[in-house]
Symmetry: C2
Subunit: 221 residues, 2 copies
Amino acid sequence: MTEARTDTREAILQSARTSVETHGYTALSFRDLAADVGVKSASVHYHFPTKPDLAEALVNRRCTEQEAFFEDLFARTQNYEELIRGYIAMFRSGFDCGNRMCVAGVMSAEIGGLPDPVRAAIRRFKDVNVAWIAKMLRIRHPRMADETLQQRAFAIYASLEGAQLIAHGLGGDAAAFDDVIAGYEASGLLSLTGSGGRADDAGAENRLHERKPAIRKRAQN
Amino acid sequence: MTEARTDTREAILQSARTSVETHGYTALSFRDLAADVGVKSASVHYHFPTKPDLAEALVNRRCTEQEAFFEDLFARTQNYEELIRGYIAMFRSGFDCGNRMCVAGVMSAEIGGLPDPVRAAIRRFKDVNVAWIAKMLRIRHPRMADETLQQRAFAIYASLEGAQLIAHGLGGDAAAFDDVIAGYEASGLLSLTGSGGRADDAGAENRLHERKPAIRKRAQN
DNA sequence: ACCTGAACACCGTTCAAGT
DNA sequence: ACCTGAACACCGTTCAAGT
């Protein structure tokens, strides 16, 4: 398909993504980016006229990837616990490769310096995630009111971004992330224990098909 | 007490705080900061030799303020619901004055470019918050195991930072923040509904002393 | 003790010029 | 279509010099 012609553009996007996930958007340098890709900084401006243009492309690309991730996940299983654990694992994966964070999360913190198109992309990323979380939750709560389900999905999205943000700020502390997730699970937020607060479902499928190993605790000291 | 002599240093800290809360740490400019305060940028370096030194001072000052906030809050009431709602209101308050965000949250996202002293300050801010949330939770759950209580407190802290981050990224969408909080509450995460998951307390004080008005819903469209 | 101007190597951005 | 060197006004930082 679209293979060779946009080599440089592709390399820029990949290098920029890693950099933003690791050091943030504002800290990203067009000159360093260009050096990493093997061109001059003016060439980066050829592909992305301004820095916000690059930011927008990064978030929009993440939206597409995220859709694909969800489709793959749902193709593998329709078991709620497996779905939600797979989703959580994606938020955790950045800690295994250099303490990276979701680009939409990073840019949310730096939103003050970003123009409308980037804000729209961040909103779209949120919408994509909430819609698919709701799709998961529907499996667990077949009769829950749609408004309640959407609200719960939004809450789960925000809580996972928060767990990632805090663990990222603690230097990529995956054990802290796991600890927060365990707290969410125990409270019922993730609808994993069958004790999910006001959830007005039938409570018919509280037994889990299989149990994953317990979430790892903090390193003993 | 310490009044007049450190005027400039005080003004720098205040201006920097607003700027970081609004635009992020990396976007903060020593020259703009100096202009706002009425000195030259070299003078800012006299008070804070490097930018990370300023960042560290900002977070450490927030820790002190946060301690004072909690002490005031506990001095006003020992009612759990009032305490937790007062705490949540603090996370929400930034949306009423220019979409500001917690400095520790902002810098968590930008942690990749920050040295150890700042990381330590961010960790301290987390510790302060979790300790005081645990103190609140102890009122609601008198017999909960301490480890479980700490985990729940950590989860609440991360979830509130997440709610703030996402609403910040949506352009200071206070209604979105309220929506997420309502989702947390309904799930039991905030221990406000008496249906808090595996919480192994006696369930003796589930009745609330008073009910606050319902959390506002999203603007109708 | 506190501030400053000038210099340094950086930054995003622009543009005329190359192939 | 894609890249470049040079220039512009910025940036954090340093330092000798002022009061």
